[in-house]
């Protein structure tokens, strides 16, 4: 399968500008689920392409073939009719066969994707307009922690994600790892996938969820188990101590101004839970659900004017002096 798959990928890449090394692409699978889905897509695509070529060839033949004589429209020719009838019948039979084959293929693929895992890493993702709340579950409650818009997973270990929605319907989709599944208010869904290779895979909300549906992305960072464990330990700690006086002042601004009303930074008095948990926000690669890379400049830009960068976002424009803005962005950038 693989060489042919590569060749097909190459063919797809030849299209103008198409990039196949995308980090959010069904065409670059990074786990068994996505791989089997891609195989299925190619199987269907090949069969369908063949069928289409056949139909177009028949059409071309029908239109271009030489005709013997002109005749009246209603001339009766039973033999011809019977021959045509047999051809149409055969084509229909072939259609039934192909369709049945594809249906069976689909069922087999479905079965292959279903498997229960006891040792799965368990997370809960909750969709909000327009960001993702991620909870790493653990039997020990003090090892449960919250993060947002970024999940780390160990490679080779199945990940089971409970999906729920806080407001409207969202859909969880990381094309490089698995198909999508909706997050529906009042219903519990779950999705399981495994990442086999380390990497950064992007996912995005795939069900229209309002103004900022376009900016509701998240990253899946697959890493070796040791690195994952290290990350997990780091996430469990409180926010790192501020080292510079600027960061120190920034913490003051953060906890005194409206920021603390919606955001938690563990280790400070900020305990709001309306927006993402920011305890380790600077360790995430992006802020605002995939909108900006998390640099100090981005923090400043985002805090200064979220409604221009992400119109409709529930993060308000909090009036801050330029000094406050500088300090608070330094504080944000220190939250590794």
């Amino acid at each position: 399968m693989r060489p042919r798959l590569k060749a097909l990928l190459g063919a797809a890449c030849a299209l103008p500008g198409a990039s196949c090394v995308g980090w959010q692409s069904t065409l670059s699978p990074q786990g068994p689920h996505a791989e089997s889905l891609l195989r299925l897509i190619f199987a269907f695509a090949i069969v369908c392409a063949l069928v289409w070529i056949l139909v177009v060839a028949m059409l071309a033949g029908a239109l271009m073939r030489r005709r013997r004589i002109s005749r009246e429209p209603l001339a009766s020719r039973p033999r011809e009719e019977r021959r045509l009838g047999m051809l149409v019948g055969a084509a229909t039979a072939a259609t039934v066969v192909v369709i049945t084959g594809l249906t069976v293929l689909s069922f087999v693929a479905t079965r292959g994707l279903e498997a229960s895992h006891d040792d799965a890493l368990k997370l809960r993702m909750r969709g909000y307009q327009w960001w993702w709340e991620v909870t790493y579950l653990d039997p020990r409650p003090d090892r449960i922690f919250l993060t947002a818009n970024e999940i780390h997973v160990p490679i080779g270990r199945p990940v089971e994600i409970e999906l729920s929605a806080a407001d409207v319907i969202h859909s969880f989709w990381v094309p490089s790892l698995a198909g999508k599944k909706d997050l529906i208010p009042g219903r519990d869904n779950a999705i399981t996938f495994t990442a086999t290779r380390p990497g950064v895979y992007r996912g995005q909300c795939a069900e229209f969820c309002g103004l900022q549906h376009a900016h509701m992305a998240f990253l899946v960072i697959a890493e070796p188990p040791e690195a994952f464990d290290g990350w997990r330990r780091a996430q469990l700690t409180d926010a790192s101590a501020q080292t510079t006086s600027e960061e120190e002042r920034g913490r003051g601004v953060f906890t005194q101004k409206a920021c603390a009303a919606c955001h938690t930074v563990r280790g400070t008095s900020a305990s709001g839970s309306l927006g993402p948990d920011l305890t380790h926000v600077a360790s995430r690669r992006y802020i605002a659900a995939g909108l900006l890379e998390s640099t100090r400049g981005s923090f400043a830009a985002w805090i200064a004017d979220p409604e221009t960068l992400k119109p409709g976002s529930n993060m308000p424009n909090v009036p801050l002096t330029s000094d406050d803005l500088r300090d608070v962005s330094a504080f944000m950038a220190s939250l590794k």
Binding site: K257, E307, G312, P316, N317, V318, P319
Partner: protein
């Protein structure tokens, strides 16, 4: 005759403009201006900011802002003290008999600065626009007038009729019988 068809729509247009517009971002000077309420010395009543009047009192008439206000009401724990308008440790809004007045300025000041009888000040936690959105919403809970622009109900357990179903209580300006 086509005119007959078009006329209702034109009238609708005039009514519709204001109530549906979604202003997602206020210019900082406008927002700063919205904070300038002139309150009477007893903390009740006063003049709204000039900017607010100039904008056409959007937070009382705009459906989107009223809805935003409703979300803030839920998010910032207003239900803890005022329930869904019926009150708890805080007073009820549904009855329309309001201790500190039901005009937007009084409500705005109550939310921003708090009241001595137990209402905490939320000025620290909310932006000026959010306080105005909340003000507009809180006003709709009371029974003073039915509005064309109303927030609707939440997708949660319903404990009372939705705001969009006209005044909650009749005889709003009378104190409750008890």
């Amino acid at each position: 005759m086509r005119l007959v068809v078009v006329m209702p729509f034109a009238m609708l247009a005039l009514a519709g403009c204001q109530r549906e517009e979604r202003s997602l971002r206020l210019d900082p000077p406008v927002e700063a201006g919205l904070d300038e309420v002139r309150v009477m010395s007893n903390g009740i009543g006063g003049a709204p900011p000039k900017v607010y009047v100039a904008l056409g009192r959007p937070y009382e008439n705009n459906a989107f802002d009223l809805d935003q206000g409703k979300r803030l009401y839920d998010w910032f724990g207003c239900t803890g003290c005022h329930a869904h308008g019926g009150g708890n440790t805080g007073p009820a809004f549904l009855d329309g008999w309001w201790q500190y007045g039901a005009d937007p300025v009084s409500i705005f000041v109550s939310i921003r600065d708090g009241r001595t009888a137990g209402m905490p000040a939320f000025g620290r936690y909310l932006t000026t626009e959010q306080i105005w959105q909340l003000t507009g919403y809180v006003q709709t809970i009371g029974a003073y007038s039915a509005k064309t622009a109303a927030p609707s109900r939440n997708d949660e357990m319903q404990s009372r009729p939705s705001e969009n179903r006209a005044p909650a209580t009749l005889g709003a300006l009378q104190p409750p019988s008890r």
